[in-house]
Symmetry: C2
Subunit: 344 residues, 2 copies
């Protein structure tokens, strides 16, 4: 059982933890209850962000430098690519996340595109790599840094609103969330939002780092490998909690829904095993990158066990599948969530 006032530890070292379900009922997740994902021990960061690679104008930024640039605030829902891994069978390797490796925070920082423009990327640049200060042994590697990349086009696009963030929910970033600064990539699974950001390099060839090409990829049993990119649509049930006992009468089911491919347009609820899906009330998005609220008034008449499923559809027409799309490393499981309650 999770405690409503603290994270649930999934791994102690490095610290990985899920949000308690109750924390996901708020529009913004408290910083202390925002899920935490890390591959290595908390790093020492020297406070400098180096921009290099195939650029005309290499430079280094400090937190003070960033704070002097135009400040941008965005509310962004971040979800771990391994969220709901426990729902995949056979169980894949990796952290055993249930479904609470998702949270929403108000991030402040500067636009990555503005920093990159100042660096003057070379005409033959194709990608941008982002390296964290965090490092350590990893599988066959004795010591590697966490590093990821985006296409140069994506990184340079002001409309993508990728942040180099230095504040979270109105406070400086704390150590767990990437102090002194980190990337925040809206719409993408959180792996793209590199924490403890230390280096940005423009590359003239695709980035081949371990966390880009050997992890955070969909290894399908019957299809070519694909990279993990946008968050898939998902509706999360935040009330009631799985397995609780409810009294007969009216109960308002509540939850969140989000997708990296555009706003969620429908959340449907199924209260039987028969497949009769019914439309939930869905709030319009409060911003382009954050989850939406949904609710459904349920008339609980019969004592016994009742199942609840909720399913999101996004503006791009993507619908949650009813069973997981299994892949070897257990990413992107956005199968419809099933809970049950006991009605007295």
């Amino acid at each position: 059982m999770d405690s409503p006032n603290s994270l649930t530890t999934v791994r102690a070292e490095p610290f990985n933890a899920e949000a308690p379900l109750t924390a996901l009922q708020a529009p913004i997740t408290a910083t202390s209850l925002h899920f935490v994902r890390g591959n290595f021990a908390l790093p020492d960061h020297d406070g400098r962000l180096t921009i290099g690679g195939a650029i005309a104008n290499p430079f280094t930024l400090t937190l003070d430098d960033l704070c002097e640039m135009p400040r941008k605030e965005l509310v962004v829902t971040l979800e771990c690519a391994g969220n709901a891994r426990l729902g995949q069978m056979p169980l894949p390797v990796g952290e055993p996340w249930t479904g609470n490796a998702v949270s929403t925070a108000r991030w402040a920082g500067v636009l990555l595109s503005e920093v990159l423009e100042k660096a003057e990327p070379s005409a033959d640049g194709v990608a941008v790599s982002f390296e964290g200060a965090d490092h350590g042994p990893y599988h066959e590697h004795t010591d590697i840094h966490f590093a990821r990349s985006l296409s140069l086009e994506h990184a340079l696009d002001p409309a993508a609103e990728i942040l180099i963030a230095y504040a979270m929910n109105g406070e400086p970033l704390n150590a767990d969330h990437g102090a002194p600064f980190r990337l925040v990539v809206p719409r993408w699974y959180a792996v793209a939002s590199v924490k403890w950001l230390a280096r940005i390099d423009v590359l003239t060839a695709p980035f081949e780092g371990t966390f880009q090409t050997a992890r955070y990829i969909y290894e399908w049993p019957d299809r070519p490998i694909q990279p993990v990119t946008l968050m898939r649509p998902r509706a999360k049930i935040t009330a009631p909690a799985h397995g609780v006992t409810l009294r007969r009468g009216s109960y308002t089911l509540r939850g969140k829904a989000w997708s990296g491919s555009g706003p969620v347009t429908n959340v449907d609820v199924c209260l039987t095993g028969e497949g009769d899906w019914r439309a939930a009330e869905l709030e319009p998005p409060a911003g382009p990158y954050q989850w939406q609220e949904w609710s459904f008034v349920w008339d609980l008449r019969d004592p016994g066990r009742h199942t609840v499923r909720a399913r999101a559809t996004d503006a791009a027409g993507n619908v949650q599948p009813e069973s997981p799309n299994w892949n070897r490393l257990g990413y992107g499981n956005n199968a419809v969530e099933l809970i049950y309650v006991q009605v007295q």
Copy 2:
């Protein structure tokens, strides 16, 4: 959360309920905690069992008649064919059983084979139908009785040790468990063990009743329909409960394992997502038809979340699959059980 001292209601009317996990730790399940499955309201039973159909010697038995025949006692594990239906995705129709629709009781009664011998089945008999006193509307039927069949060969086989049982754990059968008498078919999913038994008929053609041909059949997506017969091998984890918090140190995992195809020969435990299965300690069967105890001493060293899976293999070489064999009505899901614990 289930209560250790009472059944968990899955449906109130007709009454369907699961055993609490703690009740499954005992070798014999207390009658009040034995799972209950029924398709119709509790019937009025007139106290008579009529043996008819293609036989030379039709007759009727009362409870007194049965009690005067040689008494046979057997410890039998019964499992609902829909047990663990909730683990199948997409969720099939039917009662939403988790994994606790299984129990073990000491049954007393007379051998079905002895009763049938007295009836002198005709030479062209092929099947025996068993009809309960329970009846009611069911899908397109306005009023049908619960009824199932076995092959005549199976029903007549003294070695199959099929009971017409009138006592459970040393007491007369109670209403929920089929008073005044019921069938108990060892090794088979419990659907075969017809409760409130009212009629036994020898048939010269296969039985075509609804509960034989339209329900309790495996409707595979890609294979021909099969009848639900023997219990598939399963290892159940009875301690710890899913999701509990444990302290670091030594913890003894415990559970039960059973199969309708013969004794369980191995229970293996996997404590990671990596697939390194390790042999658990497995007790030999205490009898031919009852679950076996298994245990595994686990050294809990690292704080955080840890998954546990347990997998049974039976003497016929059947092994639990790692993911459910989905079928439309959700029967026979014996996929490896996964729980996790939080270690402090």
